[in-house]
Symmetry: C2
Subunit: 178 residues, 2 copies
């Protein structure tokens, strides 16, 4: 391939186009939402996720204190709300009210579901050993919800610096991968 | 939203649509390639990646022994090669030869670049404390290469069970996210 050296500071934009998610927490009667792109899977079942939350986010404190959250997965229709959640701090803004999102009660955790999102995952923190060094919380999904009407959800994938890729078509391969 | 409870065993298909990558290693004169979807970012710069490699993969042994790899990012044109890499074991197959991929020398590590991929990241293992429990290697990208001709790379994103989403259009938002 014709190739060009690429700045290390931009590498995240190559790898993070997993779906942008909204992570909700509830702490001392206050709910919060943060936008997150760094959340790889660790195990199939029970599903475990490595969720990276910087200690600069208000959600860090709630997650550490309550050890519970919801990961809500938005689609392109919610792009403005997602960008709004990413640009503001829960210390100053009620993000549900500010961005027209509806908090719905979860079944197993106190953090709210986001009714407008096509999928919602109720999570508990099961390992905090990597929190101080990497902000990495190991989460276990204890309950998952999906909107059965959405077949090919047009998820958002951050390519860095505010550029979002929207999920395109889906095809079935001969992969024997799980 | 109309909502339906969702099987926990399928949750990974919601979250892993980050780009499928090909991870190459070189050990005792032998190169190998594995397909990987579980690779979140941990830090912007220097770029650090949490790379999840099961000990069932031949690449696990090479990565543990050499502490080096290359993460190559393919696009949809390479879908058959990606699926082939995922369906076979480096213990039995020379994947470069079998799937028509070209190994190119890297600058900082012994593992090869894949010439057909639009980006290649040379990585070193910097933390193995989560390897035994989660198969999670912390990698640091020490050199990154990109094909300058590809503007909107049509990356592959695994939705689970062999279904792949192909990257759609990209738009610029007012996000102040990095």
């Amino acid at each position: 391939m014709p190739r060009k050296s690429f700045p290390l500071a931009k590498v995240y934009g190559l790898l993070e186009p997993g779906p942008v998610v909204l992570l909700t927490t509830a702490h001392k009667g206050q709910t919060d939402i943060m936008a997150q792109s760094w959340h790889p899977m660790l195990e199939f079942e029970p599903p475990q996720i490595a969720s990276v939350v910087s200690d600069r986010n208000a959600s860090f404190d709630s997650l550490k204190a309550t050890r519970e959250c919801v990961i809500a997965i938005p689609t392109v229709e919610l792009a403005d709300a997602v960008v709004g959640c990413g640009n503001t701090s829960g210390r100053k803004v009620d993000k549900f009210a500010a961005f027209g999102l509806t908090a719905a009660p979860a079944q197993c955790v106190a953090a709210p579901l986001i009714a407008e999102c096509y999928a919602n995952l109720e999570c508990r923190v099961i390992d905090t050993r990597m929190v101080n060094r990497y902000g990495l919380f190991v989460l276990e999904v204890v309950k998952a919800w999906i909107d059965p009407a959405r077949k090919d959800p047009r998820t958002l994938h951050h390519r860095g610096n505010g550029r979002f890729m929207v999920a395109g078509e889906t095809f079935k391969s001969k992969s024997r991968m799980k």
